[in-house]
């Protein structure tokens, strides 16, 4: 990508990008390196570290059955959040792009979907409490209509509540990039397919879906990386019933076990990056973004 021909242009490019690099180096690269280094040293048990190389932290993480349980739980939440946000996000975007005929109305409805993204996630999460709680709206409605006799316990402080909160927060990350990809599809392609006798399903399956691959990939990256890196939704919405990978090493930090936390954090970061790289391999995200 670097050719001698635009070597002349390199210096202004670098000057313009320098501020970004000056933020990313101390606040992304150096901390990550710091965590990786810390994962290989010994803890003195009092929040300090002893600069001796050791693999004990990793041994501890890998030999603990808890680790696998945590990853299994986090992975399960990621998959559920991903599936539901993708399904809902895809069809919402499809509706806005292909079914709403007035472009101003489509833009307005799109904005309605995006506004909550700019408000506090924590508040949006706790706002489920008056609905899902034991005496919440949904339980009262179910009892009033005699669907159930006893209030359902599974609604709040359960895995269900965690998934609901994730889907509530993250579907927007699917809608926006998929909407973006769909809006770029030339409507004449669809017309041509229809004229050639394609059914509605075939149009979605063979034209729309392939053409919004990038949108789906981008959305998936956001959803998966956010769920994998989350701990407060799990902590609050499961009522302490479920734990998460991040929650576990946050607790290690609380008891000043930095090296153990760092080992766990390093493994998680590697897994998240591998997932993201896998998704990125399916699309050329950069070309799509700068196009």
């Amino acid at each position: 990508m670097e050719s001698k021909a635009n070597g002349r242009r390199n210096s202004p490019g670098w000057l313009l990008i320098l501020p970004l690099v000056l933020i990313l180096v101390p606040f992304f690269i150096v901390p990550i390196i710091g965590v990786v280094v810390a994962s290989f040293v010994q803890s003195d048990g009092f929040g300090g570290i002893i600069p001796n190389f050791t693999l004990d932290n990793y041994k501890g993480v890998f030999t603990s059955g808890l680790t696998y349980q945590l990853y299994w739980a986090t992975l399960k939440f990621s998959v559920f959040a991903w599936i539901f946000s993708l399904l809902i996000g895809f069809w919402i975007a499809y509706f806005l792009v292909f079914h709403v005929r007035n472009p101003l109305l489509a833009l307005g409805l799109f904005l309605i979907c995006t506004v909550p993204f700019w408000t506090s996630n924590i508040i949006r999460m706790i706002s489920w409490i008056p609905l899902l709680g034991k005496e919440g709206l949904i339980n009262s409605a179910l009892i009033k209509t005699r669907v159930v006799d006893q209030p359902l316990d599974v609604l709040l402080f359960s895995s269900l509540a965690v998934v609901i909160a994730y889907v509530h927060q993250l579907t927007i990350f699917m809608i926006v990039p998929i909407f973006n990809s769909m809006a770029r599809i030339d409507k004449r392609t669809i017309e041509a397919a229809r004229d050639a006798g394609a059914s509605r399903f075939e149009i979605v399956r063979f034209i729309v879906l392939p053409l919004c691959r990038t949108g789906i990939a981008l959305g998936s990256i956001f959803v998966v990386s956010i769920v994998m890196g989350d701990f407060f939704v799990v902590k609050v919405m499961s009522g302490g019933g479920s734990a998460s990978v991040v929650g576990a090493f946050y607790e290690d930090i609380g008891v000043l076990q930095y090296p153990t936390a760092a080992a766990s954090a390093t493994i998680l970061t590697i897994i998240v990056l591998l997932l993201v790289v896998t998704i990125l391999r399916t699309v050329d995200i950069r070309r799509e973004l700068t196009r």
Binding site: I32, V35, P103, P116, W118, S127, F222, D230, V246
Partner: protein, 297 residues
């Protein structure tokens, strides 16, 4: 996320769609199914939030669930006067000041980076993937890293230094992604025209590019402000001893079980809505002036 600005710019070409839509006037059955799905989605999106706004206006007997017990501003007063709920006022002012600084830095750096990424330069892919990495890395891992480094170097963490940097590592990738979307619609003919007419590089940037990109820059500002104002995981371990607002809300969710929590939700959402309204209003005003004005189109 790249698209909030695009959606605006798209509104004109989308108009073709009507002409290309199937000639039959009836809506297909899928329209009604998807319209129902959309309606349910919007209800699920806003419904819970509306519930806590309503519940925050209960009187002193109020609880965390319906039915409403009286109406008053009791819990709002409680929020700002009680010691039990922590230093909410201080957290508010810190969060807003921090968000303003983050917004300014995010807009400036995203703009410069957006300009840089229009051309290929040595190492551009490296910077691009660093940015993606910074976006997807678990926030708490970065927090631990910043904490460790500060520990080693003997730097005290605080909300206006380390937390500022940690938040920028999250808002900047978003800002640059939005700039990509904005820049892809910038016609380089404007710049060439400016240069041909004798504008210097600075004049081209400030008198031509910035005004053309103004709506996009406002969108970046919106992202910068709201993402910083609501940022939690990256701030948690980097803010030092004084809390920002999301950290305050977090500690409240763990130990406050009164509608004070909802009152805080109402107040902070109100601020978010004001910011969103201001930004969207500004963008709409700029767009409108363009459509009616003869100069730029």
């Amino acid at each position: 996320m790249t698209d909030f600005a695009n959606a605006d710019a798209d509104s004109v070409p989308i108009r073709r769609r009507r002409a290309l839509a199937p000639s039959s006037n009836g809506r297909p059955w899928t329209f009604y199914v998807l319209a129902t799905l959309f309606t349910l989605y919007v209800i699920a999106l806003y419904g819970p939030m509306v519930c806590i706004y309503i519940l925050s206006f209960q009187d002193v007997r109020g609880g965390l669930v319906f039915p409403m017990r009286g109406t008053s501003l009791h819990w709002f007063v409680d929020l700002f006067t009680q010691v039990r709920t922590g230093d909410v006022k201080g957290a508010f002012s810190r969060s807003i000041r921090l968000a303003v600084v983050v917004t300014i830095i995010t807009v400036v750096i995203s703009f410069l980076s957006g300009l840089a990424f229009r051309k290929r330069f040595a190492g551009d892919s490296v910077v691009f993937y660093l940015m993606i990495g910074s976006l997807v890395a678990p926030g708490l891992v970065l927090g631990i890293g910043v904490g460790l480094i500060c520990n080693v170097l003997g730097i005290e963490t605080s909300w206006y230094t380390t937390a500022l940097g940690a938040q920028l590592s999250w808002t900047l990738p978003f800002g640059v992604l939005v700039m990509f979307a904005v820049m892809s619609r910038l016609d380089s003919a404007w710049e060439e025209a400016a240069r041909d007419l004798g504008a210097s590089a600075w004049q081209t940037i400030f008198l031509v590019i910035v005004p053309i990109l103004a709506p996009g820059l406002v969108a970046v500002a919106l992202f910068g402000f709201t993402l910083s104002y609501d940022e939690f995981t990256r701030t948690l371990l980097t803010a030092g001893s004084l809390n920002t607002l999301p950290l305050e809300i977090w500690s409240m969710t763990l130990n406050v079980t009164s509608p004070s929590l909802y009152a805080l939700g109402t107040v902070t959402t109100l601020i978010s809505f004001i910011i969103i309204g201001l930004c969207l209003g500004t963008i709409a005003r700029i767009q409108k002036r363009r459509v009616s004005g003869p100069a730029v189109h």
